[in-house]
Subunit: 251 residues, 2 copies
DNA sequence: CGACGAATTGAACCTATTCAAAGGGTGTGG
DNA sequence: CCACACCCTTTGAATAGGTTCAATTCGTCG
């Protein structure tokens, strides 16, 4: 078994951090909230967006900075993190192309509540908060779609609050693995491979525990044949068994 | 000191659970998201709302039920709770007049993610989800306002995730007390009185701990002269000291 | 190959939970 | 109006789950 490659993850590494103009337009057109927008309007909107490339671990915006822009992931993976004074940071979300973050409000004195960091090489589009607001005002259907997405995220965040309150570390890790499997999962010869580089630190920051506890739980899951995992990658073998653990709410 | 009344809380108990038509119109006009709406439109919108009264501990809507309506608190206090199979429930929010809950989406197969329960005698207005959606489509400014509120709530929920991940029970209780103080606080002869009946169970469900732990922390706070508390009420004496505890992130 | 970052594992410690029991205030019914 | 009953609250002691600190192993990339 040692002859097999250890890292089944293939992360695209483009030469330039910029994403192509072609990709950029495709992203905008494919954005959930621009989906219903007439072609001409998207073209117009396109001109308001700027584009930046980021290397892995590079910060896109800092929590506390004046929040003047809205960002849209075009390519790569972006981590949304909230800091604590103690250094024990929380990983709130991992964003894929099409998802947005940053400022939605028009308030001038607003600041970003979170730090956004590229997890892989990424391309991010951004637009001035006031420009985006003008779009929302002009296109009610876009505003409604953004509201729907925000609303769904609120539910997810509240579900996480519930889990942190009611579940053990084991249950929370199982839940996160299932969510990531749904979001990043791709069938492969090692199971449902989560296509995103994922350290024990990340896992800990997503479940409100320590690196060591996350590691212990993952080791146990692997021993039990539920997952397959290595350095910076995870793959799910027994989804149903994980679901049982995820839903087992400390009776 | 035993001559003083023990319960400084005054909860209005109206005969009827219904709120007056007068109050109802005033509420609609005062709603954050209807604030900018022309008078005539509000009158029109008013006709789409239904009105119900609830006794303390009565359930307004059940998690899992088909989500067809949006609710607005007109009078009283409403608890938003998310259940766990184990019975360890989580108190997500305590709503005051003007705040909304229920369904924002137009999806037909949607269900309420939470159970809403009257904490005090309450009056609640409700509107069909599709009717509300039509209002949002017709009045972009209303949609934007709703988006802003939802967005702010998302931030709060994420802040709670951070706290559950990074703070001790003591820190989380201190935080909740400060938030409630800001939301319900009224200066009185016993300090900043939180005008909402609040049990140790509620506190535990808001901080992800047990009734006993919440009680222990509250006892300690009282011993230290930070708060004054009794059966179903709390008052803050030393806000700054609480803030220090709330921000002390387990170094 | 060598070095660094990531992951694992062990053992002591500690916070918070659990289970159990007793005390206290409120409001209701006699 | 008083007394009782119920629910809320408090407190104690034992336990468990998780953290912390420290040391080691392992894998990947330069």
């Amino acid at each position: 078994m040692s002859t097999r490659r250890k890292t089944p993850l293939h992360i695209e590494v483009t030469e330039s951090h910029q994403c192509s103009v072609d990709l950029r337009l495709r992203i905008l057109h494919g954005l959930p909230f621009f989906a219903d927008l007439p072609h001409a309007d998207v073209e117009q909107v396109n001109r308001l967006f700027h584009e930046y490339g980021y290397a892995p671990n590079e910060t896109i915006c800092f929590a506390g900075d004046s929040a003047e822009r809205l960002f849209v992931v075009a390519d790569g993976r972006v981590k949304l993190m909230r800091h604590s004074l103690s250094g024990k940071n929380v990983l709130l979300d991992m964003l894929t192309p099409g998802e947005f973050f940053g400022s939605l409000s028009a308030l001038k004195d607003d600041v970003y509540p979170d730090t956004a960091e590229a997890q892989t090489q990424s391309c991010v589009l951004s637009i001035g908060a006031s420009d985006f607001r003008r779009i929302l005002e002009k296109h009610p259907m876009v505003a409604l779609k953004v509201l729907e997405i925000t609303s769904a995220r609120l539910r997810e965040a509240q579900e996480r609050v519930r889990q942190l309150s009611a579940l053990t570390v084991e249950g929370r890790v199982a839940n996160v693995l299932l969510v990531l499997g749904r979001k990043f999962g791709k069938r492969s010869d090692v199971g449902l491979l989560i296509e995103s580089p994922l350290t024990r630190d990340d896992l800990a920051a997503m479940t409100g525990t320590t690196t060591e506890s996350a590691s212990r739980v993952m080791s146990q899951f692997q021993k039990d044949g539920l997952i397959q995992t290595g350095r910076k990658w995870v793959s799910i073998l027994a989804q149903e068994a994980l679901e049982r653990i995820a839903e087992a709410e400390a009776e």
